[in-house]
């Protein structure tokens, strides 16, 4: 009996250690077959994938628990629209795959005389800011809209699993 208790305790300790160390991203995202996930990308990109013809989806994770979604949405809009001169085409409320509320901003901008589309989704969870981006030349973005949307909609920034609080981690890939 004592031996069994020791084994159970050991398993718990090992699981807890694995959870606390963390070996993945603090979010989950699915890469569609039309895109290739790129490895060894420099921070702040925690994830980046692209199609053969240059449409890129990427996630930045910023450790900052000082403000809420409204603040970050406003900051991102100002930065991109007024400083970089991007045209704000559309903004809407979105929800991540795990149910976290976020904002989507769709911008347009000409690069070398050609129109490009740049989508940004912002989520706030885990004391972090998740900035999900997608962009590319407008014809390609139009063609890949279902793929890009599918990828962006697959994102989880919190885990609703029953055991996640037990392992002291609210992230999706650390347990």
């Amino acid at each position: 009996m004592r031996n069994l208790l020791q084994k159970v305790a050991l398993v718990i300790v090992l699981l807890a250690a694995a959870a606390s160390v963390g070996c993945g991203r603090p979010f989950d995202i699915k890469t569609p077959s039309e895109m290739l996930e790129l490895k060894d990308q420099d921070p702040p990109f925690a994830y980046r994938a692209m199609t053969p013809d240059g449409v890129v989806v990427a996630m930045r994770v910023v450790d900052d628990d000082r403000a809420d979604l409204g603040f970050w949405e406003h900051a991102v809009t100002l930065r991109i629209r007024e400083l970089a001169g991007y045209s704000l085409l559309h903004e809407s409320d979105v929800t991540s795959h795990d149910g976290t509320k976020g904002k989507e901003l769709v911008f347009g901008h000409d690069e070398n005389g050609k129109p490009y589309v740049y989508k940004v989704r912002v989520f706030v969870a885990q004391g972090r800011v998740f900035v999900l981006e997608a962009g590319g030349a407008k014809p390609q973005m139009d063609r890949y809209t279902p793929v890009v949307d599918w990828t962006m909609n697959s994102v989880k920034v919190t885990c609703r699993a029953l055991l996640s609080p037990v392992f002291a981690s609210r992230t999706c890939n650390r347990w």
Binding site: K39, R79, R81, E82, H109, D110, Y116, Y118, G135
Partner: protein
């Protein structure tokens, strides 16, 4: 000879202070400046109170009470000018559509570069045209002005009438003048004619500016100025947002 010189002096004196005289109502059909059409009003498609320039229009629209009820009604001569700055997206298409808009409202293209287009539209359709231009893109900045040139217009109109009257009088004198007198009269006639042409040109320009409002649309390039009107959040990740950073994909090291 003396009488002629006295006559020229008197006519010149009258013309010089003509701007201060009260004149009969303008009736000359040859006047280059026809009374301009009424200025834009909310009834012409504008959104009263809903657009930033609505207050400008409200202040300058003739008929808007601006003083005591007994004040005489004076038709205001206003030059409307608008500058819109749009975000850079599909610039070529945007420039084309603004140009097409000018033609559709009875206006014309005044100037066009790679990033800017200036159109002139009939004043009566200025409000409508401005609203349409705003639909062609994301408006970052908007500046609408209404310059009141009523005094300048009226003054120029009176001075022109006086100058024409002087020219007519000099021409009459010239018919009966001796050779030496004729030389002096022709000299004066030349100066007056020159004045008339200059004033007619100015009046024509003013009338054109009143009759056709100017709308300039600029597609703003990326702001390279390190000093901005507003403080920016000092967060590097915010600064790095955008297509350049996103699409600049790093090749993985083997």
């Amino acid at each position: 000879m003396r009488r002629v010189l006295v006559a020229i002096t008197l006519i010149a004196g009258v013309a010089a202070c003509g701007g201060a005289q009260s004149m009969s109502p303008p009736s000359s059909p040859s006047m280059a400046a026809a009374p301009p059409p009424p200025p834009p009003s909310p009834a012409m498609g504008g959104k009263p109170g809903g657009q930033p320039w609505a207050s400008v229009l409200a202040k300058t629209t003739p008929g808007t009470p601006a003083g005591p009820a007994s004040a005489p009604h004076v038709a205001m001569m206003l030059i409307y000018t608008a500058h819109l700055t749009l975000a850079v997206f599909q610039v070529e298409a945007g420039l084309d559509s603004v140009e097409a808009l000018a033609r559709s409202v009875g206006g014309y293209l005044s100037n066009r570069t790679d990033t800017q287009v200036t159109i002139r539209v009939p004043r009566a359709r200025f409000d409508e045209a401005l609203g349409s231009v705003e639909k062609h893109g994301d408006v970052l900045h908007r500046d609408v002005t209404a310059e009141d040139v009523t005094d300048e217009y009226a003054d120029l109109d009176v001075r022109l009438k006086n100058a024409r009257a002087m020219r007519d009088r000099l021409q009459q004198l010239l018919q009966n003048a001796a050779v030496k007198e004729a030389i002096d009269i022709e000299k004066e006639l030349g100066r007056v004619t020159e004045d008339i042409e200059r004033m007619e040109g100015k009046l024509k320009l003013l009338s054109d500016q009143i009759a056709f409002s100017t709308i300039t649309v600029t597609f703003q390039p990326i702001d390279q100025n390190p000093v901005h009107d507003l403080a920016r959040l000092p967060l590097p990740w915010l600064k790095d947002l955008g297509l350049a950073e996103l699409l600049n994909v790093k090749e993985a090291t083997p």
